[in-house]
Symmetry: C2
Subunit: 366 residues, 2 copies
């Protein structure tokens, strides 16, 4: 696969290359949208927390890590049930190496971070099996659009990421409601992707809401309200507001395709200014298919940070090569932005060394 | 008085000229800190609302006006008891003329604005006569400092303003606690400055808190906690975080001197990067003395937008020439930033025409 800097051109190679070249030497702003959904507490659905109940703390703790270099609302950092640390470790390392500013935006949280964050008027999400998952979707989209318009004036381009445990299941819900075939195609923070459980959950949500596959293709607000999560209206509004003015790199894995479908339904014109930035672990994942989902929506460029932890001296980082975690908190997109900001001077090796340094500091290992 | 563009050099002329020349052609970000205090509800103390109870709505309505061009939480726009419109009208006009981005930050509010805003963890303030006016001051300063550090990376310089009714009385409280003689020197949104009432209120607060004139000179956190308002920790933290990296124009009237005293006590080193930007109505006000207060703290430059509404076709704007309103919502500083951003292409006459256009739209007058 063709590379520019240490970023792979995963989809729409021509436009992907143009997009990253437009980023070269430019100053980005990273906006991390955080939110929580009860969907994450369905047993075995998410590894973004040591136990299901801990998933309420993962997004605020990730946000604190980005701004403070440590968490305040929990001890240590968010980990999977196996003790593998949050991808916010990658994001934080990349932000610091390239001196990229970060703002945190809340789509709706059970636990608030102990740092400054943009309040967009949202509330925490319910389990999508209720068929009535998110309140206030239209209002949050409007407010996030306003925020995106203002923030676009402060940077050459925006990188927008997310932290929401359970987010690939809610992505499957929204994609299904909007007529995008994503069963078996969404990614997972676990090496064994629980597709059966996700399909069952999303289908139960659709049924409970009275919707069916594709019945909300033209109603993204209702699709999110029924079977989505509160990160989505925040993220989609930011994209709509910002991409009318500057390029926007949507930083994440298959969750980004649900946001893409929403933006495509709200304002397809802005997609000429949008790319997805993810990690090699998502791009090469055999248990999911980001390209296969994107192809059904809009042929936007997809880039992937060519991160490789195989040679790391920490087993907690080597685990990423086994398909644990894979992506999140904008890790892939921010890594690409760090590379591009300094014209390639930040390499994947340099990133790994910085990630290992922070890993040692935060995990108390040498 | 010497002028650069249509801005008067009011204090420390040499540094003031250097400061505005550093702004020439550069891209600012405007941050509007909003908060409420029960102090504003003392009868006859503030004109920043049609009635005292309305002062809870003034800051969120001002913020909405800046982002939306209209208010959502109230009908119309905030007005004085005489129907004179909020200075946010000036700010909004200047922001739009020069395409300056704006973010709203909350220090603590009774009524939340229906727009995106930075939550800094603060709460609405109590009447300073309690001697226990503001909660959580240290934490809000810390969070605002973090926000200032990040926002400084997104702009060539920051303009920071405020909207808090009752703010000159709380300013007097904090200045007195910190040993700055400001009785008879703080400004007012009314033509007849109620100095007696303000002095009495600030003295009652000091007495209730067990402090006395100057006893908290080295404890700005306690000074705000006892007799300040929740705008102050938000504003001061933003200055401390941002001015370590980029110039900061503190946009406001005599309230800025209380923030200046706080910043001077927290981190005097950053003041080499700080100026105050106000209006001609404050600079020339015979019933207050911004220079006399600044001189007691730190000889920072003071600039004043040379706005003149004498020839306006609207009596609601001519009223500014009689000493009504005078300043607020960063009006003076943002007007100066609008002039400087385009190298003087935005003049005071152009600003007045844009303000009149928005006045006609919002006040329903022709």
């Amino acid at each position: 696969m063709k590379k520019v800097f240490d970023a792979l051109l995963v989809n729409n190679e021509f436009k992907a290359e143009a997009f990253i070249k437009e980023m070269d030497g430019k100053k980005p702003l990273f906006v991390c949208t955080i939110a929580t959904t009860e969907t994450a507490k369905i047993p075995e659905i998410s590894a973004a927390g040591k136990h299901p109940e801990f998933t309420d703390y993962t997004p605020p703790a990730d946000a604190e890590l980005l701004l403070l270099g440590k968490c305040k609302c929990i001890n240590g950092v968010p980990v999977t049930p196996d003790g593998i640390p949050t991808p916010a470790l990658i994001t934080m390392s990349a932000l610091r190496l390239a001196d990229i500013p970060v703002l945190v935006a809340s789509g709706g949280l059970k636990v608030k971070p102990q740092i400054p964050f943009l309040d967009l008027g949202g509330k925490p999400g319910r389990d999508i099996q209720s068929g009535n998952a998110v309140d206030n979707v239209e209002e949050v989209i409007e407010r996030a659009t306003l925020a995106g318009e203002q923030l676009a004036k402060t940077a050459d381009y925006l990188v927008i990421g997310e932290s929401i445990p359970g987010g690939t299941t809610t992505a499957l819900g929204v994609l299904s409601a909007m007529g995008v075939n994503a069963e078996g195609k969404v990614s997972s923070s676990m090496p064994d992707n629980p597709h059966g459980l996700k399909n069952e959950t999303a289908r139960a949500g659709l049924a409970a809401s009275g919707a069916s596959f594709g019945s909300l293709a033209k109603n993204p607000v209702k699709a999110i309200s029924c079977v989505g999560d509160p990160m989505m209206p925040a993220f989609a509004g930011l994209v709509v507001g910002a991409a009318a003015q500057v390029p926007v790199l949507m930083a994440g894995g298959t969750q980004m395709t649900a946001v893409l479908a929403v933006v495509n339904a709200l304002n397809p014109d802005v997609l000429c200014n949008v790319a997805i930035g993810t990690t090699r672990w998502v791009a090469n994942d055999l248990s999911s298919d980001i390209k296969g989902i994107v192809a059904q929506i809009s042929d936007v460029p997809v880039l992937a940070a060519d991160l490789d932890f195989a040679q790391s001296r920490f087993s907690g980082l080597q685990a990423y090569e086994k398909g644990i975690v894979k992506e999140g908190v904008g890790a892939g997109g921010v890594a690409i932005a760090a590379m591009a900001k300094l014209g390639g001077a930040v390499t994947k090796d340099m990133l790994l060394r910085e990630i290992e340094r922070n890993y040692a500091l935060l995990m108390g290992t040498k």
